[in-house]
């Protein structure tokens, strides 16, 4: 038998109040700009038609620049494959439910277009549950959350410099705790430029 | 036997008083140290085995029959282990602290009469000396906590000082009742006072049998309350569960022994158990009749005062029974919190001990024929006081709750 789903939520009222919101095709997620997110979430939380008082999940997604192929029907009635250039972007995804009304699920995405310096708005002023999860997103994706009171690395150590969950993340040849590579790490280090026989550096 | 041997050696050495004195001290101290080291070894085995049975385990069973040689193996391990001293610790005090614990605990044993004539240091003010030396334990524990330069050790040391100082007061006050009633600070006299005179010397063997028990102080109202107070305070004084806060594993790792390893840790361990023996020994002396116990006339002896079971056997039997109770409590009860521990000492034990002192004083002046009635009245009174105190302490008495369910 199919998995019984949550009570579906009508997105019309929020789209009415915030005309700049988009609904993502295929997933039904709300897409918003970082500047607007606090107002939207406050509306979703306090409006009696929603009462989404429970922020369940916060996470990030990293999209590199890609070329998407899409089938379209052109004017002549033929299907053709169109190539669309997708700019790089990052999404911060929030999943909202309502505990009091037993409603859900509303997915909200903050779309960050500047992937090189990603800045998002923190939901911590409205939801405590964003505290650790946004820290984790900051830690693994490097998204800077404006308005977060305690934005530090959560899982990686403080001295770590990169953001491992990014799609273009390259594992370093060696870590701080292993100043002289050996074994597999050494083999790998040799394939990179400028490294001689005796390890990476003194 | 030992006593006779000691007397004989003393006699042989009569020509040289100085030598005789040294030999005398050694003769008393060496058996004491040996016997209690063995007792300690046995108790660790008993504790591990007992706890294991309580916890549905088997316990040590590899070394020797029933794992009896396990303490020896542990000892070898402890001695051969590396002695780690934290670099930033105060090395001198770090070394001194375990020694001080052991020395003060051992010295306390000197005042306990284990049997007739088996007191190492028979002095008139034994009870006072006992508590004075026991107080050094507190100092040593705090020294250990401070010298280790570890935050957990410091917390443990602080807890130990607060706890031991607070519980010493009810401990001493409950001992004071005995001293008041007996009128002596000498532990031997206190033991002697717990034999019903007329009965113990009577021709009737049954009465003689009873006379060894009936006089125990624990059967009097003040003695009963005193024993309970003393026992609870002794648990706290020796850092045993449920008052093992200074070394509470789940909170502060191992408290003041966190930075100790190898032999120094073993010394702490030893000192702690010897301390427990000493305090329990005093409890036996003060309340449980010391070396007295139900006894018979041996069939080979015509002397009606000869005893089949030597006194020290009774003493050690009682000590191990009390030790077993400690182990039982350790395997059963969770731990109190530090503020609850303090309020228990100051708001419950201390007032009760004070009331008990007055009750003892009252009973001391009651005429002999009214004793029975006065005793019953005192029992009831003490019970009511204890009840009232516990009621007063629980402004919001914790109680199990009823839960409801959502469909």
């Amino acid at each position: 038998m199919p998995v019984s789903d949550e009570t579906p939520v009508d997105l019309a009222p929020v789209l009415e109040s915030f005309p700049s919101l988009e609904v993502e095709k295929g997933t039904g997620a709300l897409i918003t700009q970082p500047a607007l997110v606090l107002e939207v979430v406050q509306f979703l939380r306090d409006d009696p038609r929603y009462r989404l008082d429970y922020l369940s999940n916060v996470t990030g997604i990293d999209y590199l620049a890609t070329v998407r192929k899409e089938k379209r029907v052109n004017e002549e009635g033929k299907t053709e494959i169109v190539k669309i250039d997708e700019p790089p972007r990052m999404d911060v995804v929030y999943h909202f439910y309502s505990m009091s009304e037993k409603r859900g699920l509303v997915t909200l995405k903050q779309r960050i277009t500047d992937r090189d310096r990603p800045v998002a708005t923190s939901l911590m002023p409205l939801f405590r549950s964003a505290e650790f999860q946004e820290r984790e997103v900051y830690d693994l994706f490097g998204i800077d959350f404006q308005g977060h009171l305690d934005l530090r690395r959560l899982l990686m150590w403080e001295e770590f410099e990169d953001f491992p969950m990014r799609r273009d993340y390259v594992e370093p040849d060696d870590y701080e705790y292993e100043p002289t590579p050996h074994g597999e790490v050494l083999e790998k280090a040799k394939t990179h430029a400028g490294l001689g026989e005796g390890g990476s550096e003194e | 036997m030992l006593v006779q041997f000691a007397n004989w050696v003393q006699g042989e050495l009569a020509c040289s008083p100085a030598l005789a004195k040294i030999v005398g001290i050694l003769l008393a101290a060496v058996p004491l140290a040996t016997v209690f080291a063995l007792c300690f070894a046995f108790t660790t085995w008993l504790e591990r085995k007992g706890l294991a049975r309580i916890q549905n385990r088997i316990g040590p069973n590899r070394v020797g029959p029933f794992g009896l040689f396990q303490p020896i193996a542990d000892g070898i391990k402890m001695i051969t282990k590396e002695d780690i001293v934290p670099r930033s610790s105060d090395h001198f005090f770090h070394l001194i602290a375990p020694l001080l614990v052991l020395v003060s605990s051992m010295a306390c044993l000197a005042f306990i009469p284990f049997g007739l004539g088996m007191t190492m240091s028979p002095i008139d003010t034994a009870v006072v000396f006992f508590f004075a030396i026991l107080g050094m334990n507190t100092l040593a524990v705090f020294l250990a906590g401070w010298a280790s330069r570890n935050k957990y050790s410091l917390l443990g040391g602080m807890r130990a000082v607060a706890q031991m100082v607070s519980y010493e007061i009810p401990l001493v006050l409950s001992a004071v009742t005995v001293v008041m009633m007996v009128g002596s600070l000498d532990t031997r006299e206190i033991v002697g006072a717990q034999v019903v005179e007329g009965w113990a010397t009577s021709e009737n063997s049954g009465l003689r049998f009873l006379g060894q028990i009936a006089g125990w102080h624990v059967f009097t109202p003040w003695g009963f309350a005193g024993f309970i107070i003393f026992f609870i305070a002794a648990l706290a004084e020796t850092n045993r569960s449920p008052f093992d806060l200074p070394e509470a594993e789940s909170e502060i790792i191992a408290g003041y022994v966190t930075e100790y390893s190898g032999f120094k840790f073993a010394l702490f361990f030893l000192g702690e158990y010897i301390g427990a023996f000493a305090v329990l020994g005093l409890a036996i002396t003060l309340f449980l009749g010391g070396w007295n116990g139900p006894n018979f006339q041996p069939w080979w002896s015509s002397d009606p005062h000869a005893l089949l079971i030597p006194g020290f056997v009774w003493f050690f039997f009682k000590m191990f029974v009390l030790m077993a109770v400690l182990i039982w409590i350790r395997g059963t009860l969770p731990r109190l919190r530090v503020d609850q521990l303090m309020s228990f000492a100051w708001k419950f034990l201390l007032p009760l001990a004070l009331v008990n002192v007055f009750v003892a004083g009252f009973l001391f002046h009651v005429a002999k024929e009214d004793r029975v009635w006065a005793s019953v009245a005192a029992f009831v009174f003490l019970y009511l006081v204890a009840k009232g105190l516990s009621r007063m302490n629980q402004s919001d008495a914790p109680a199990p709750r009823k839960y409801h369910f959502a469909e």
Binding site: - | N56, P242, L333, N393, P400
Partner: protein, 392 residues
């Protein structure tokens, strides 16, 4: 450094304001003691660290530090097929591999609208409720251990857990890392005689619970140590995304087995125990009461277990269409969610685990402030965390 000794009368702890360093008292200047509890501490339940600032023994600041068990589970999953992550989900909350499997399988099944045969659904319910028993009994054991009861209740809990782990081993081949569920069903059917044995274990369990409750629930030391300690208000609990027994102990009725009725949970009439105060005692009791409800579910599921296939028509290569899904179940610790983003290939584009333990730790500081350091340990125990899941 001078420290004030902690001779404090047993009054109810009050929450003091945060962020002060030096406390001025009449004639006595005291400093705060900073203690780093963990990552190797007997009662942080693994490699978890709490940076605590103490005023005497009172907690004035507490910062949880994570990451000692971090292995970037989510990144690993992006580099392998969907099914390849199934064994890794076992290692999230290593006490509850069955429910982890289920949550992941559920998310995957939602992605391709896969139907699960009825027998498989029932077996999943049985396994999940057995897991709940294992988790809760271990929690109760560890919790009382944190209270200082030197392992006795813990070892009795372990004894009961062993029996259930034997059942897991018999059915799946592994005691803890079961890896038993698949998209669309189960890896293998229950072995012959398994159900009889399971019935025996389940029937014996209430007797054990009776004994356990009799010894623990009315123990005065446990009462004074846990009641009114670490009170979590329902408003804060909802706002901080607390789920599972911890939320219900605060009096919020939110059990995904009822709300989402995933699987076949709508066929089981069971009750959801509710706490009123939201303190450690409520969290402890709610778990004990939940175990009794689990036993009811287990009995019914075993009675009604239908015959039939255990595997739906799952594709040989799991290759969902582009899209995303958030699937969640009521794990023993709270809402365990899997968020999967597919780009149409056989590997997930993004794979995210919503860890209940980590989110439940959000309020740890709020619960501990103003309490003694001993209570901080007890409160942490009552939150119920497993570091495999917190750090992933």
């Amino acid at each position: 450094m001078t420290m004030e000794s902690s001779v404090v009368a047993g009054s109810e702890p009050t929450v003091e304001p945060r962020g002060f360093e030096l406390i001025e008292r009449e004639g006595l200047e005291t400093n705060l003691l900073e203690v780093s509890m963990g990552p190797h501490h007997p009662s942080t339940h693994g490699v978890f660290r709490m940076d605590v600032k103490l005023d005497g023994e009172t907690v004035t600041e507490l910062r949880p530090v994570f990451g000692y068990l971090h292995r970037n589970h989510e990144k690993l999953a992006e580099d392998m097929g969907y099914l390849g992550s199934m064994p890794f989900t076992d290692r999230l909350d290593y006490f509850c591999s069955m429910t982890n499997n289920w949550a992941y399988a559920l998310a995957g099944e939602k992605m391709i609208d896969l139907e699960v045969p009825e027998r498989a659904e029932y077996v999943r319910v049985i396994m999940a409720e057995l897991t709940r028993l294992v988790n809760h009994i271990m929690l109760v054991g560890f919790f009382v251990n944190d209270l200082g009861a030197l392992g006795t209740p813990l070892l009795y809990a372990l004894r009961e857990r062993e029996k259930i782990l034997d059942l897991f081993e018999w059915a799946s081949g592994a005691r803890m890392m079961c890896n038993y569920m698949r998209f669309g069903g189960l890896r293998n059917d229950l072995p012959e005689g398994w159900l009889t044995k399971c019935r025996e274990v389940v029937d014996a369990f209430p007797y054990f619970l009776d004994e356990y409750e009799k010894l623990l629930v009315e123990n005065e030391i446990i009462l004074v140590r846990t009641q009114n300690v670490g009170v979590l208000k329902p408003e804060l609990a909802i706002n901080a995304g607390i789920t599972g027994p911890m939320l219900r102990a605060s009096g919020v009725n939110y059990d995904l087995r009822k709300v989402d009725a995933y699987g076949v949970y709508d066929r089981f009439p069971f009750r959801v125990p509710m706490g009123e105060v939201g303190d450690c005692y409520d969290r402890f009791m709610v778990r004990i009461l939940e175990m009794r409800e689990s036993i009811k579910i287990l009995r019914q599921a075993m009675d009604e277990l239908p015959e039939g296939p255990i595997m739906g028509e799952a594709p040989r290569v799991f290759k969902p269409p582009a899209g995303e899904i958030y699937g969640r179940i009521e794990g023993p610790k709270g809402e365990l969610g899997f968020y999967l983003v597919s780009d149409g290939t056989a590997k997930p584009y993004r794979y995210r685990v919503r860890p209940p333990s980590l989110v439940n730790l959000t309020v740890l500081e709020d619960l501990c402030l103003g309490h003694k350091v001993a209570d901080a340990v007890v409160i942490l125990g009552s939150v119920d965390i497993v570091l495999g899941e917190v750090d992933r």
